[in-house]
């Protein structure tokens, strides 16, 4: 498991969140904060990545790699501001 930050998800999320996902602001369903994806804490393993809110730890984004496909979830995101 490698701990990174939201900058590491730029390539994976470009198709889901627009050409610049690292500046997309994600409103956390846990604490209500709204920060750029770039500051989220990212846990990465061979299976994919999980981005957690840097304030409260709520899981904001999941990226699961299945072969050449990516399954993107936003379980803890109330809104995305692009």
């Amino acid at each position: 498991m490698t701990i990174l930050d939201g900058n590491a998800l730029a390539g994976d999320l470009t198709e889901a969140l627009g050409p610049d996902p690292t500046t997309a602001r994600l409103r956390c369903a846990g604490c209500g904060s709204s920060d750029a994806l770039g500051v989220a804490r990212v846990h990465r393993s061979a299976m994919g990545s999980v981005a957690r809110c840097s304030g409260c730890g709520t899981v904001l984004v999941t990226v699961v790699l299945v072969g050449s496909r990516r399954l993107v979830g936003l379980p803890g995101v109330r809104a995305v501001t692009l």
Binding site: T2, L4, N7, A10, G11, P19, D20, T22, V39
Partner: protein, 264 residues
């Protein structure tokens, strides 16, 4: 396409218009950067250009179809189609040993980019806006995206005061030595402090040893300077620096950090 888009099409696209895409790349040049790292210059004919601090995802495909993708910061910026990387070897990694030890001029790779608009710096475009000072803090190969910023600052003769604090093990581990020296001699204001943890060159003003909170505090712009702060390095390095910056009174919410992990 609308008429408006057709008219602006000849102008270099701003960051927001440089949509990331997969591009075919060819290795144009390689050279040893440090004993464990290699500089790789890619020729990417369809590259739309990139801002200082952006990165790309590089994909290798083995003969059996197995693919591995890793993110690498870009040491160059601007509208050109040559892209400079510097890759440090992660000994048990899948991709970096190939890039450091095996890749040769003429090899074909795939890159996805330019990526990231958070960890970027732009030269001032309007002479009326105040030049915000910039503090750069790098650990090891974390210098790569910061060298792009230093070079962009020098090339633009941007008046913003820049400071770079660079933590390395030994003098041989310094990346982009001549680029940093050139930038320090350019008219754009830049102060470079290198902290050597294991061995320093003769006459180094900072004592040999790991970066400490005191060394950090002495080298960086004070909290009231209102600097844009960029930190790049391994995850433990970045976490430690952010903790110390907070203890020294910096607003760490404003700091732009980029961490890299060890799965190279």
């Amino acid at each position: 396409m609308s008429g408006l888009e057709a008219r602006v099409g000849t102008v270099a696209p701003p960051a927001s218009r440089r949509r990331p895409a997969w591009h075919d790349a060819t290795v144009a040049a390689v050279r040893a950067e440090t004993p464990t790292a290699r500089r790789i210059i890619l020729d990417v004919p369809t590259w739309p250009g990139n801002d200082a601090g952006q990165h790309l995802d590089l994909r290798l495909t083995a003969e059996d179809g197995y693919q591995a993708t890793r993110s690498y910061s870009i040491a160059s910026s601007g509208s050109g189609t040559r892209v400079t990387l510097a890759v440090d070897r992660v000994d048990d990694g899948e991709v970096s040993p190939f890039l450091v030890d095996a890749v040769e001029v003429g090899d074909a790779l795939e890159v996805h980019g330019p990526l990231g608009g958070w960890f970027v710096w732009h030269p001032e475009t309007s002479s009326s806006s105040a030049s915000r000072p910039v503090q750069l803090i790098a650990g090891g190969s974390g210098i790569v995206p910061l060298v792009a910023m230093v070079s962009a600052h020098a090339e633009a003769a941007d008046p913003a005061p820049f400071r770079l604090l660079y933590a390395v093990r030994t003098p041989e581990d310094v990346f982009f030595r001549s680029e940093l020296a050139d930038a320090a001699n350019a008219p754009a204001p830049l102060e470079v402090t290198i902290v050597y943890s294991r061995r320093a060159p003769d006459g180094s003003p900072v004592p040999v040893g790991r970066l400490t909170r005191d060394t950090l505090g002495a080298a960086v712009l004070p909290p009231d300077a209102g600097a844009l702060v960029y930190v790049c390095g391994s995850t433990p390095f970045v976490e430690q620096v952010l903790r110390w910056l907070g203890e020294l009174g910096h607003d760490t919410v404003e700091v732009r950090a980029e961490r890299f992990g060890g799965n190279g």
